[in-house]
């Protein structure tokens, strides 16, 4: 009886803590969305103190303190209108993010589907060594991998320039260095790690049965493995997408021309830019990933579960 009572009290305490934690976890996102519906004058009044280098006599118009507000005084879509219609710069940067992230996600998955099938379908000493090397590579931070990436990019660029464009007039596609981010991104081994673990869970009996029925290797991969790994595939796609959607390190080092920088880098310069639009830009930037999350949360959770543990 007392034990039950104690347990109930514990549950109540946990519920309260969970609600508080939920508030903290949701607050930054909710605030960004709420603030995106404010008028630019309200933003200036609330946050002007943060960004202006105005002289003291002008400061009387804005409050000295920064006011974080959940509910706008007046709900308006002005910020969105300005971002989507009047400032092509933000949309260009958004497009830069898309054109880097989508190819990386698609081709990394394509390469990984085949490679993971190879690792899961048959075992061997050499394969085990290669897989272990992939895990080590996966665990290497950007501070390590960016140096080799940079060397390869420079090598490819100078080689192609010397052979095809000896006069130094290189085409935009080569000069903008998008490929220097996309190519290593495609071969980043994270998705192979996760998909192999998911595929190894598929019972051997399934493939044996399919083989007896005359299915070839490609058929086994596409008709049995892929449908059974749907959750892991969706999950990997989401995790790879958000990781590259967030990229900052690679463009800073590999892309000299800031015109091709993705929005994730460009948003840091918002301090000096138009603060009134920053929240709306932030919301526009989170729309794709939030939609993915709402649509695929269960798959995401399933995939994360597979990723647990370095071994087996």
């Amino acid at each position: 009886m007392t034990r039950l009572k104690r347990r109930r009290a514990g549950d109540a305490v946990c519920t309260v803590v969970a609600i508080l934690a939920a508030f903290l976890f949701l607050m930054p996102t909710v605030l960004t969305i709420a603030n995106s519906f404010m008028t630019s004058s309200e933003i200036a009044a609330n946050y002007g103190a943060m960004f202006s280098n105005m002289t003291d006599d002008k400061k009387v118009f804005i409050s000295e303190n920064v006011n974080l507000k959940f509910i706008p005084d007046k709900v308006t879509l002005d910020q969105y209108k300005a971002v989507l219609l009047k400032s092509p710069d933000y949309l260009m940067k958004f497009w830069n993010s898309v054109i880097l992230t989508v190819p990386i996600t698609f081709f990394q998955l394509l390469v990984a589907v085949f490679a993971s099938y190879g690792f899961a379908r048959s075992k061997g000493k050499i394969k085990a060594i290669i897989f272990f090397a992939y895990i080590i590579l996966m665990l290497m931070p950007y501070q390590v991998t960016l140096v080799p990436n940079f060397l390869v990019a420079e090598f490819i660029k100078t080689t192609i320039t010397n052979i095809f464009y000896p006069n130094g007039q290189i085409p935009n596609g080569l000069a903008n260095m998008r490929w220097a981010i996309i190519l290593p991104g495609i071969f980043s081994p994270f998705s192979i790690f996760l998909l192999t673990k998911a595929m190894k869970r598929i019972p051997v009996a399934y493939t044996e049965a399919a083989r007896l029925d005359g299915a070839g290797e490609l058929q086994i991969l596409f008709r049995i493995y892929l449908p059974l790994c749907r959750g892991a595939l969706v999950s990997v796609a989401m995790l790879v997408f958000i990781d590259f959607w967030n990229m900052v390190e690679q463009p800073l080092i590999l892309m000299k021309d800031a015109n091709y920088h993705p929005l994730s880098v460009f948003l840091s310069q918002i301090n000096t830019g138009d603060v009134g639009l920053a929240f709306a830009v932030g919301v526009v930037y989170m729309v794709p990933t939030i939609l993915m999350f709402l649509y695929g949360e269960d798959d995401l959770v399933e995939g994360i579960t597979y990723s647990g543990g370095i071994k087996g």
Binding site: G10, D11, T15, V17, A18, A21, A22, L24, F25, L26, P28, T29, L31, T32, N35, M50, N65, V66, V111, A112, F114, A115, G118, S122, K127, I130, A133, I136, L137, L139, P141, Q143, V144, V147, P148, N149, V152, F187, R211, E217, L221, V248, E249, V265, L267, S268, A278, G282, M286, T289, F293, E297, L300, V301, I304, T305, G308, G309, I310, K311
Partner: protein, 294 residues
């Protein structure tokens, strides 16, 4: 059931699976492994033109470089604080959601959601919270304390820790929830019958079963802690306050000055440190979790 003994079929499977791995292997060799070999080579020569072998002198120079030492110290300090915190708090969240509380799946969604919110989208809110005249300082002053200019003080790392935890706790929590669900129920029932309390059960049974997950979460959090540069960059741009100067800042500056020797030595050193840490974690897990693995 016996596996097919047909040698011809097995050979075909082996060839097919090798072919499947080939594109990925070529990509990894070209973009990561071979150039990393070159990086190791670069770290031991004096410059790319004369190519004179100088042994470890680039590494020794690195250790007398103040910028590198500061960056390594800041990054190390950040990881040393944030990684254990991430471990403990995400485990606490997972244990909490194991209990009988209403709306569990909603809480799971809430805790996981920051993972899928781009850092750049919410960076402004963090700036507002931690600004000199911002929300946190207003709260502190309301209770009679003295605010600090967070981003420009030695407390700057606290913001980073908050942002790091906010983003990464959800993923770790899911890993722990799965691991907790995988603990054999009969063992816990026996323990309960024998009179073991919840706390005893947690520390003496559950933690042992969780040890592979704990190691994985430690490694994963450590990797993610090196990505904190993104947050620092978005908050402060190229030139942060000294305490926020991270290894990636050092790398960026060295890239800008095209000092390949320094860069290579730093990358190789970092890789070596990572491998040692990962090896130590894996070995200690083998010792600690041995008796619960089948």
């Amino acid at each position: 059931m016996k596996r097919s003994k047909d040698p011809c079929g097995r050979r075909r499977v082996r060839i097919a699976s090798n072919l499947c791995i080939l594109p990925s292997l070529l990509g990894v060799l070209i973009f990561f492994l071979i150039p990393f070999g070159i990086v190791v080579y670069y770290s031991m020569i004096n410059n790319p033109n004369t190519k004179q072998f100088v042994g470890l002198s680039n590494y020794i120079k690195l250790f007398s470089n103040n910028a590198f030492l500061a960056a390594a110290k800041n990054t190390g300090l950040f990881s040393a604080v944030s990684v254990p915190l991430a471990l403990v708090l995400s485990l606490a969240l997972a244990v909490m959601l194991e209990r009988n509380i209403p709306g569990k799946s909603a809480f799971r969604t809430f805790f996981l959601s920051p993972l899928m919110v781009p850092t750049a989208s919410v960076v402004l809110v963090w700036q507002v919270l931690f600004h000199n005249h911002g929300t946190i300082n207003q709260i502190i002053e309301h209770f009679g304390g003295h605010g600090v200019d967070w981003l420009k003080s030695s407390h700057g790392q606290i913001i980073l820790i908050c942002m790091f935890l906010w983003k990464n706790l959800g993923y770790n929590m899911i890993l722990f929830m799965a691991a907790l669900a995988g603990i054999p129920k009969d063992i816990l029932e026996v323990a309960e019958l024998e009179g073991a309390g919840r706390i005893y059960q947690f520390f003496h049974i559950k933690l042992r079963y969780l040890s592979p997950t704990i190691v994985f979460v430690l490694i994963l959090s450590m990797i993610n802690s090196f990505k904190i540069f993104r947050e620092v960059y978005l908050l402060t741009g190229d030139y942060p306050y000294d305490k926020l100067y991270m290894l990636q800042h050092f790398m960026n500056n060295t890239f800008a000055s095209l000092d390949y020797q320094k860069l290579s030595a730093a990358a190789v050193l970092f890789a070596a440190v990572m491998i040692v840490i990962i090896a130590v974690l894996l070995i200690s897990e083998n010792i600690f979790g041995k008796d619960v693995e089948n």
